[in-house]
Symmetry: C2
Subunit: 209 residues, 2 copies
Amino acid sequence: MPARPQPLSRKDRRRESEKLILRAAEKVFAEAGFGGATMQLIADVAGLPKANLHYYFPTKESLYRQVVESIFQNWLTAADVFDSAPGPVEGIGAYIDAKMEISRRYPDGSKVWASEVMHGAPVIQDYLETTLVDWTEGRMAVIQRWIDEGRMDPIDPRHLLYMLWATTQHYADFGHQIETLNGGAPLSDAQWQAAKASVKAIILKGIGA
Amino acid sequence: MPARPQPLSRKDRRRESEKLILRAAEKVFAEAGFGGATMQLIADVAGLPKANLHYYFPTKESLYRQVVESIFQNWLTAADVFDSAPGPVEGIGAYIDAKMEISRRYPDGSKVWASEVMHGAPVIQDYLETTLVDWTEGRMAVIQRWIDEGRMDPIDPRHLLYMLWATTQHYADFGHQIETLNGGAPLSDAQWQAAKASVKAIILKGIGA
DNA sequence: CCACACTCTGACCAACCGGTCAAGTTTTTT
DNA sequence: AAAAAACTTGACCGGTTGGTCAGAGTGTGG
């Protein structure tokens, strides 16, 4: 019996349409920013009439909000590696790997997030103040514990986290600049490995892990 | 004899008007992005009628271009400290100090630059391919020399530069996020010093300098 | 003092944007 | 199969945007 394509239910079709629109929106928002993006262009990228977008997402801002929120969720879950690690070498090393991989695979999401924060986080300020603050304090406590256990130098955990975010996200947000400095070509597989290795080597040695 | 306000010449008045507009434009472009910025808002911030802007800068894009170019120049000159240094501790240390200071004093410029690059550098791609490539290769050679002289670990100079850019500019581009994580308050003088010290400590130790 | 070039600005315009809506089509429920 | 609910879409609209322009104001060289 062949894998017959089940006639998709209404909920499935709806979810698929929403995903299609959200993907197109993420791309357009990343390329043009919120102000520069137009519903018409998002519709064209998604291959739908503009009015259809407004059926699923009533306003441009609500569409943008969902894009940003999904990115934020993606961010948080990718950092679970942090907690289950016995020490900084494994924890921070895995965190760098995970974030570099996100930068490589979902650069658009990273750019949208960067743009949102740079413009003062007009739509996700509440998330910053609650979820991100909690998350950050949790990881800072983990790092502080490692310090207290003598597993790394007494670095200010806050600035270490900033450095991790900055360095890993840089490869997505400034990917175009990096590409230009690479002779116009995207980083090869080997170059990505080298980037990860360099980042990990400098930071892990830098914190005395 | 008192310092009498010399009746400004025409050229001086023109230059002053242009500076006034450029400052306002930098602020508005940083806050709203190119697409979100409006000539009307720039005019309001500058305290001039909108038509006056178009007298000095024919189009929105030409105004934006000049803003970005001036930022780029500011960038390059700020990195002279690199060359005259005898070794990585002084050179990279001073470079971090200089770039952190720029992030602190001119965050708007940093944001405009980041936004421009994130959107594919539509107006300064030629600068990236010529000036920035040359500049980068020059500093990479300096770092490589330090490595050859045994003054630091054999790190890939390229990724070290990326890390320096990412980390220092992060404090400007993501300043709002950092502020939120700081309880909503901007970093104090002491906190800025701590940030600089943390960054320098991790990186300089991380490269074995 | 005059002629000329430079500077300034309110009023205006075509193009475009986000969003609406009514009418049509498809799918599910009864 | 009929009715209801969900979905699709071309046409349309008020508001905003970048940019124009004629004409008024102002400093400067001869």
